[in-house]
Symmetry: C2
Subunit: 154 residues, 2 copies
DNA sequence: ATATATAAGATATATTTAGTCTTATATCGA
DNA sequence: TCGATATAAGACTAAATATATCTTATATAT
């Protein structure tokens, strides 16, 4: 009953992009460093975000990622579910046929309600708000003055 | 982001016991058959429920399980958390120190809120209500007339 | 005291998650 | 136009977890 690592990383990625605004191209390397995500793992996650239509992936020497939509239109729920699939607190929520008693089950109803509530809460959060409010995800702010390169990169 | 099998089984077990009422001894075998849980797996789960003070385990030839508390006092949350530990939708909810940015993170706050809401919903559901309302968990009602043994057991 | 039915704990298998490595593609510079 | 480089894309490996079974110990009844 917890978010996977990939889901968490996906959120960080989109949040970082949201700080730069819709359409701004950011290299995978920068995102990986700033959000502390293994670069190759990030690549895999980005593919899922791209398939979901949240970001666009640009290839080549000057490639990177960029948001296709305005951050205010991207919800936390959308990003999470792009990575880990539709949230389903119990098997029977997503696939009622997995338990032949789901039609009658009182517990099932509680799960359905809780699931719906959870998804609603995550849907209320959009990335414009999340990104604007204050610093998150490791480095306080990206490219604060353009040349604070640590040079202590491992 | 889903309940483990063990958690689901724990709920079924307590629900079955709740049907029999507080203090009634029910054999592991009966519970296992009625709720479709592997008997040995159920034993392990029962241990956790016992440690949490929800059920009592009686050993010996006439042993079994029984509820220590009135079903109305047992919440869905308590049973779930007895099995899978405290619910934490993201690592940083349960262990804020796992991410050094949790103090500032706006996403973290959303997770906290969602987590709290989820736990509240599960806490509202008690087993008296769950058991009374209608049939759940496989066999419609335990010991309906004492001998509706399917005999088609695999 | 012995046999039986059960619980308790240890062990093994399967599945999923997390991360790395290799291959392919696109842009840039000569 | 061709080669070098930086990136994306996909295949693969290792670790963690979940699931289930097996073995051992305990308690009751005969
Ligand atoms: S018994 Fe109820 S809660 Fe459990 S899996 Fe079946 S429908 Fe869902
Ligand atoms: S970045 Fe925010 S949401 Fe993600 S783990 Fe850290 S505190 Fe939690």
């Amino acid at each position: 009953m917890r978010l996977t690592r990939a889901g968490e990383y996906g959120i960080r990625c989109v949040l970082h992009l949201a700080r730069h605004g819709k359409g701004t191209l950011v290299s995978r390397k920068e995102i990986a460093v700033r959000t502390d995500v293994p670069p190759h793992f990030l690549a895999k996650i980005a593919q899922q975000l791209a398939r979901a239509g949240i970001i666009e992936i640009l290839q080549g020497a000057t490639g990177g990622y960029r948001l296709l939509t305005d951050p205010s239109k991207i919800t936390l729920l959308a990003v999470i579910e792009a990575i880990i699939g539709e949230i389903s607190l119990n098997d029977c929520v997503g696939r009622p046929e997995s338990c032949h008693n789901s039609a009658l089950c009182t517990v099932h109803r509680v799960w359905n309600k809780a699931n719906q509530q959870l998804r609603a809460t995550l849907q209320e959060a959009n990335f414009a708000t999340l990104a604007a409010e204050d610093a998150c995800c490791l480095t306080p702010f990206p490219e604060a003055d353009g040349h604070n390169q640590p040079s202590g990169k491992k």
